[in-house]
Symmetry: C2
Subunit: 228 residues, 2 copies
DNA sequence: TTGATTTGTTAGTCATGGCTAACTTTTTTA
DNA sequence: TAAAAAAGTTAGCCATGACTAACAAATCAA
């Protein structure tokens, strides 16, 4: 009883809300996702969000009780995963074939993910030989909508002396991505935590013979795998 | 004094109208393009068209006098050519790399042409090694917006006995493209006019050992180059 | 040339998806 | 536990871009 035949008659806005909700619920694994958090995430007013949520509830993509937290139905999740698949495949294409850099892909992929054609995205997938991860290191859902979240460890959770490999960064902000690139960090960079400063939570890290100090906020957005 | 730095803050609708107007004016080389013709072409009501034309006039993309015919400004043309460039490059990409057939590309390209990123389209152009023609045989405008119309001769203009090569088809209708493919015609097919029937304007043509009868309407949408 | 037909325009309506301002409910905290 | 803060909701507004119905201008044809 999989919902395969989705005509996907959703507007760009509806899709944006569903994807955002999914990212807050599943990827960020938030405790409670409410109206205002979703509004904040999308940079719209709570009133707009309330409106849209109402609409998505009647369409059976979202469930919630009055004044209660929001959740996605299986249908809603399915739409969101499909969008994430499209987003990540396009990001991969832009980087691997069209000379886009890490920090340039997000904005264009945000547009491309709304193109409606399953043939397009499945053929793009095939053309690139079914890549498993996007340029930010995130796993790309397959055509059946199977979704896996990387077991993410934040750089900020490491102790002094530990060594890790960069596997992903939060791609929500262009400025952040630009900064990550600029200081010379890239996917698979090996990072060693030199010092954790208690008083302001900043962290001194070493990579490629470079030493940098980064803020806690920065370290919260960088996901790594511990090395031994 | 070329207008290069176009922020292109146009909506999808505005772009659609400009492109349609361009196609009627320049590609179809129509005598007089009025409100209703444009409305018809876009499948919207004359009232909607009137509304939009008014808006595009204040934005300096369109010129016209009250109750007079419509025309594009240089700015308007520039936008339209850019859209046509994007459309044709995407069509080429879909056919050459993503296994789309002749008749499938149009609909998806209609969506893709609205993606806003000059880097995207210029890199796509480079990736395909600057193709000159799209899968329907139309010339692709280059990055500077230089536009060339193929000197088109309609199949319907040939006399009995003449031989020609198919160089382009009008890609306005999916059904038409499908039909062209189905009867076995392709770009560069050699076609011989066997018979022109005066009473209903139908034409009997021969190609690849096949003989088919096609209507006048069909022959009006098939563009050829005469052979000797 | 005058009436009919076609073409263009205007007014007013609707849906979508934003917004602010004001209000209500829930949660926090003093 | 009661007041303050935060979160959620509602009402009412705006722009965009469709629509229909009614009207005006231009063109065609008898």
């Amino acid at each position: 009883m999989t919902n395969k035949s989705n005509l996907n008659n959703l507007t760009k806005s509806e899709e944006d809300y569903l994807k955002a909700l999914f990212q807050l619920l599943v990827e960020d694994d938030s405790e409670k996702v409410g109206n205002n958090l979703l509004a904040d995430y999308l940079n719209v007013s709570p009133a707009s969000t309330n409106n849209m949520v109402k609409k998505l509830k009647t369409k059976n993509y979202v469930v919630s009780e009055k004044y209660g937290k929001l959740d996605l139905t299986e249908q809603g999740k399915s739409i969101a995963v499909r969008l994430i698949r499209k987003h990540r495949l396009w990001e991969t294409f832009l980087c691997k074939y069209l000379n886009f850099s890490w920090d340039e892909v997000h904005e264009v992929a945000e547009q491309l993910e709304h193109i409606k054609s399953s043939k397009l995205i499945d053929e793009l997938d095939r053309f690139m030989d079914f890549p498993e991860k996007d340029p930010h290191g995130e796993i790309i859902p397959n055509a059946d909508g199977e979704y896996a979240v990387l077991p993410k460890i934040m750089l900020s959770s490491l102790a002094e002396g530990e060594v890790c490999k960069l596997i992903a960064v939060d791609d929500g902000s262009v400025n952040f991505l630009k900064y990550v690139s600029e200081i010379g960090l890239a996917l698979s960079s090996e990072i060693k935590v030199i010092e954790v400063r208690e008083f302001d939570n900043s962290i001194r890290i070493q990579f490629n013979d470079t030493i940098e100090t980064v803020t806690r906020k920065f370290a919260d957005n960088v996901f790594v795998k511990k090395l031994v």
